[in-house]
Symmetry: C2
Subunit: 523 residues, 2 copies
């Protein structure tokens, strides 16, 4: 398995060709036909925003190597992992692993700079890394919220709803993973229903289960039913979230899932999960060094398991309120960390995951929007390659919000347009329009405006720009109330993508057999 | 007057020294004493975000020169302006002025790259240009809105309230100008009460009246009472907003005010006011060329009036909905224009004004916040030097919102922290903390956290990060409801800065005499 992976991974490095047309073209094509208008993943046309110079980045890299060499990383409850490190030449004392300076960076060299994650609908396959950005929905909340039902525990029906919403939003390129935690399904069987929802109710790429190695194996098995055995052996069809237990610890659950995925050439996102002040120091430069050290250890480990296996440098970094201890979002310090970590990942030559539409607010109000935008804009400007929590995140990740999902998806669409950059063709320069109109007149009716107005400006489906009087006459709805109407309409209009009935049957048979094989567990 | 200006202007060029301590120090100092904690204007420590390469910027500059040469700019109802251009060698046909390629850029060379705008409290003086950013409040709305009274016409009491709020917000460095339009005061006397409010209820720098040349003269006269004749002759104490009537037109009102201010060495912001699709083409590259052409003509004109007079390149650029014709805000296209215009201003070597916290929403809801953040973040990242509409703007600029003022001011504080960048000192690197804590522990109690927690993270006064249960127990207030409480508390706690009673008396006498000299006019 490892060798298969090595050769597949080697072939994958630097693969950067795009299978289909760019954003604007895709949008036009989509408008002309096809049920759900979709945007292809983004390939940015404007530069990334660099906030740190080379000297500063080298300092942080030096500090990360110092952490790896002097402090070390714990690999807990996983004898195999310790054995792998010992064999690779690391200094293993108990569960503490220390790394000669430069060792992890050197091991990371076999990781591909970018890779394709295939979707069952090949038009929805995404390219992860390089100049590309992929938006995925919120991941993990045990609660959902909408205006009608308020805050409540999530169910498998909610899960399916969020998969359907993500499928229906053109600006969301990925079906994600745990779009909410369906607590009405037993813990040990939940992943089967979740995977099935992604496979059946969407045709966008999806994430695998990481809560136990055997659930990762189920994810592989079900993907083989969906894509075919050979295809999954040779290609990446899943990306999965491996969080470090910061500070400087990986546990057996995450290591177990990582090993399964890496050995099967499926992608892992190694993410130090840091609330600054609790899991890391309170300073951005400190968070960056620790994040890089932890990510390097996890990435290097994945390459020891299977050189060439696709792996993503992840960073989830926010702060805690030093008054209440509560996590905070959308503040300046995490944005500084995000810009810095993106630059460190680029220098390492691996894809980068961070950001999203994070907020601490309890409702989709102005706080939620300010904080989400203050996370999403740095996400887009920094050049994040894989954006989890792109839409729907509320209350510090405790809630998947129906209304906020709609609002955030609109913002994702804006970011996509933004990253398309400037049209500097003759039509983009518009000198003929300026000559035609001249001083003191207006551009509304000129030929250039007429030729371009349909696609000239990003069109929000949620913003109200009507007059005050018209807005009042229509009920004086705020953005949340408008989003409530939209999500219901989208779900009402939803039609599942076609699936081969034999595949569907095989998936259901696999799930039924698995469920029968063990008693329900709720912890 | 022109010669005095020339020499003062010459001396002003490149003046970049800062009079007081940097942001973090100022904040610490302010905490230890002084009634209102204030932040000094920002001097950025992170780079600006460049979205266009040199080739693209040169193309836009070439197009701007083509507009100036071939299409020309109208200077309407101002024979003196046409005479000035004729004498300078421009091609004047009727009111249309055409400029030999490069002429305006060459004339603009005498404009200072940055300048100090003095406040009556010298600690509040601001440096406009270079790496500096100054935040000023909303400008122009005829309406105000709060949760209690809803939407209503603004009064002079509202005006005074917004001056008091701006004075009380540490993150707002400038008292602004028409913070709302006090429609209960006669049009021809309004400016006197507005100026007095800035002078009496704040000690931050302020803007002058531009609605008629004689009102600009009043602004100069009242400033001379406040600062002393000699000081105003030798220093810039006002900055005023001169909008072009885009496309490619300046009118006598604005030209009249510009001439008064330029001749008195007071700063003007020459701002093409563009809703793309109406006053300019629908493409960012087209808007940029036209904006640069109009700004160049206005800036060059100011330098012909008084070489060396401080002048700012302004850009107000948003779009209209091509469906309804309504203005839209916070969309990607204006952000692209903003980044591009900032780069063009840097290449021209003059300070730049743009952006703010713009939105089209009718209430301070999620739409308002998304759109404002989507304007403010580019404002900060692009390196805008003077930011009008930093706080309080609602409903496309028709409303000054009390609650949004508070919310926006919080965001301005975040931007200020963001632009302070990274602490790369030993304390900032926090390696001792990482060594002390080690794998699997936490940083809450470590020495480094204890030493830094008070200033480590930006503290929002409006965000609620408490638990859901606590938030519910406290009334489940959204951000707007919390802001409502805050603005009332701030106004209740407000204390006017001290003023020399003789100066106050002289100001009131000037206003009384002026008001007596003419009948009320309401149009």
């Amino acid at each position: 398995m490892t060798e298969t992976g090595a050769s597949a991974g080697g072939g994958r490095r630097g693969r950067g060709a795009r299978g289909a047309a760019g954003g604007a073209e895709a949008r036009r094509a989509a408008r002309q036909g096809g049920k759900v208008e979709q945007l292809q993943y983004i390939t940015r046309k404007i530069p990334v925003f660099e906030t740190l110079n080379t000297e500063a980045l080298e300092l942080i890299e030096y500090n990360a190597d110092t952490i790896l060499e002097e402090v070390g990383i714990d690999f807990r409850d996983d004898a195999e992992a310790l054995e792998i490190w010992k064999n690779a030449g690391a200094d293993v004392q108990g569960e503490r692993v220390r790394f000669p300076r430069g060792m992890c960076r050197s091991l990371a060299k076999t990781a591909p700079t970018e890779f394709t994650q295939h979707a069952r609908n090949r038009d929805r396959s995404v390219q992860i890394g390089g100049d590309n950005t992929v938006f995925a929905p919120v991941y993990g909340p045990p609660f959902v919220r909408d205006l009608d039902g308020g805050r409540r525990y999530a169910t498998i029906e909610d899960f399916q709803n969020f998969v359907k919403l993500a499928y229906s939003m053109p600006s969301i390129h990925h079906s994600g993973g745990t779009v909410c935690e369906p607590v009405d399904v037993p813990v040990n069987k939940r992943h089967l229903d979740m995977l099935y929802a992604h496979m059946r109710y969407s045709d966008k790429p999806y994430m695998g289960s990481v809560t136990a190695p055997e659930r990762a194996e189920d994810s592989i098995a079900m993907s083989k039913i969906l894509f075919g055995d050979d295809f999954v052996d040779d290609n990446t069809v899943m990306i999965s979230l491996i969080n470090a237990n910061s500070p400087m610890t990986f546990d057996d659950t995450m290591l177990g899932a990582l090993k399964v995925y890496a050995r099967n050439n499926q992608a892992c996102i190694v993410t130090p999960f840091i609330l600054s002040g609790a899991m890391a120091p309170v300073t951005p430069a400190g968070v960056l060094a620790q994040t890089l050290a932890e990510a390097l250890a996890g990435i290097a480990f994945s390459q020891l398991v299977n050189p060439g296996a696709p792996v993503v440098f992840g960073s989830f970094a926010s702060s805690i309120s030093m008054q209440s201890g509560a996590p905070t979002f959308g503040t300046p310090e995490p944005a500084l960390v995000l810009y810095g970590a993106a630059a460190l990942a680029r220098r390492l030559g691996v894809p980068f995951r961070s950001g999203g539409s994070l907020c601490g607010s309890k409702t989709p109000d102005a706080q939620a929007a300010y904080e989400s935008a203050q996370t999403l804009m740095p996400t887009a400007m920094a050049g994040v390659n894989f954006v989890l929590h792109g839409a729907g995140w509320l209350e510090g990740g405790l809630i998947s919000s129906y209304e906020k999902f709609i609002m955030d998806a609109d913002q994702l669409g804006m970011m996509q347009r933004m990253l398309e950059g400037y049209d500097l063709t003759e039509n983009g320069q518009a000198m003929d329009a300026i000559r035609e109109v001249g001083p003191g007149s207006h551009f509304l009716g000129c030929a250039h405006t007429q030729a371009n107005f349909k696609t000239a400006f990003y069109r929000s489906n949620i913003a109200d720009n009507n007059s005050f009087e018209q807005w009042e006459a229509e009920g004086a709805l705020d953005a949340c109330q408008r989003a409530n109407k939209i999500f219901k309409r989208v779900l009402a209009d939803y039609e599942a993508p076609a699936i081969d009935p034999a595949v569907d049957e095989a998936l259901n048979a696999y799930i039924a057999k698995k469920k029968e094989s063990m008693p329900d567990a709720f912890t």
